[in-house]
Symmetry: C2
Subunit: 234 residues, 2 copies
Amino acid sequence: MNNKTSPSHAVVIASGGLDSTTVAYWLVGQGSKVTLLSFDYGQRHRTELEYASRIAKHLQAPHEIVDLSGLGKLFTGSALTDPAVPVPDGHYTADNMRSTVVPNRNTIMLSIAVAAAVSASADAVAFGAHSGDHAIYPDCRREFFDQFEAVTRAGNEGFLANEFQLLAPFIGLTKADIVETGQALGVPFADTWSCYRGGEVHCGTCGTCTERIEAFSLAGVADPTVYVRPEVGA
Amino acid sequence: MNNKTSPSHAVVIASGGLDSTTVAYWLVGQGSKVTLLSFDYGQRHRTELEYASRIAKHLQAPHEIVDLSGLGKLFTGSALTDPAVPVPDGHYTADNMRSTVVPNRNTIMLSIAVAAAVSASADAVAFGAHSGDHAIYPDCRREFFDQFEAVTRAGNEGFLANEFQLLAPFIGLTKADIVETGQALGVPFADTWSCYRGGEVHCGTCGTCTERIEAFSLAGVADPTVYVRPEVGA
C-alpha cells in the first residue's frame, strides 16, 4: 500500500505505541494532515492514552479519544480488559496470545475511524499493523485490510471521498524496521507506550515489552524506555 | 440468505422498530435462541431503546444496551443526533434522507455485534434491513452484508464459529411484507417504535412514520400505533 498517493488528511488510529506513532510521523513527513484517534475500551494499559496525547502535542495534531468503555462487558475473558485474567510474560505463543485478543477490536476501531473520516472529510484511515502481528491476530493481516477497505467503500458510497484509502503502510515491516524508520523521522520514542501491564513504567517482561526491547536491539537504536528492572533494555 | 440453516444462537441488532423486532420473532419461531443488542448513540429517538426492552421482555431474551454516546461528536450533521439539524417530514428523497445518515453506523453496530457473538459463542448476527432501505443507505444493501460477512470471517478466524452467518433475512422484503410476516408471528406491534422525532407518541409525519403508516395500510393489518394526530394511520 506504500505506492498509493499520499492522503491529504488521514485519521490515524493512535494507540500511543511505537507503531501507530511512527505511522503518524511517516504521514506528516509526506505532507499529510493527521488527526489522531484513540480508544478507551477499558484497557488495563490505559496509560497509552496519555502517551497518544503527548504525540498529538508533538505533532500539533487534533486528538480525539473515543470512550468505548461501555463495551467492556463484551470483552470479558481478555487479559487486556478483564482484571481476572493475568497478562502473560515472555514471548508470545499461540496459546498465551489468545488471552490478549479483544474480540473484533480492529474492525470496531476501524469502523469508528471511518465514521470520523466521513465527518472530517478525510481521505484516509491509517493503522499501524506490522508483519510481526502474529497469525493469532487475524485482523492484522493484509487480506483483512483489503477486505475492510472494500466493505468501507461499499458501505459509504456517496459519503466517503472516492479516493479513500485504508493505509497499513508498515504491514510488510518488522517492528525493528519500524524503529529504524521512526529513528529517521525523529519519533520521540520515550513518549510512546507498549506495556500491556500499564504500571508507572514499562514492566519489561510482558509480550509487548519483550518485543519492544528486541526491536530496539535489532535496529541498533538506543532504547530510551524506562523499565521496572533498569538492566532490561539497556 | 433465507435458505441457510437456522442459527442456534443469534445476536439480533434490535432498534425497537418493526423490522428488527420481526427478525427476532422470526428467529425464535425457527427455534433459535436470541440475544437483543441495542445501541445508545445519542439518537434523538432514544425512546426506541425502551421499546427494544419491552420486546426483550416479551421474548424473555437477554438484552444488552451498548453505550456509544461517546461517539456523538463524530456524528454531528445528522438529524438523528444533532439537535441543530431538523428531522425532515414526508416521504424520503435522496436529499432529505442524507441528513438522517449517521456515518458508517451499520458497520459500527455490526462490528460490535460480532464482538458480542464471539463473547457469547453465538453463531449468527441478525439485522433487520429490508428492500425499502433506499439506495441512499449504502450499508443496507445485500452486497454490503455479503462483504461484511467475508471481512468478519477473515478478521475473526479461529475465534468465530465456522458456521457463523450474518443474517439479513428480510433484505428482499418490503416493509409491508414485514408487517404481514410479523402479524403471522404474533409481533406486538404496539410495542415497537419507528419515529425519528422521539416524542411521547409517534409524530406521524416524519419519513419513518410515513413509511410505517403505509406498511400497515398496504399489508391490510390494523395499525395499533398512537400518532400525534389520531386520524393518521387510522
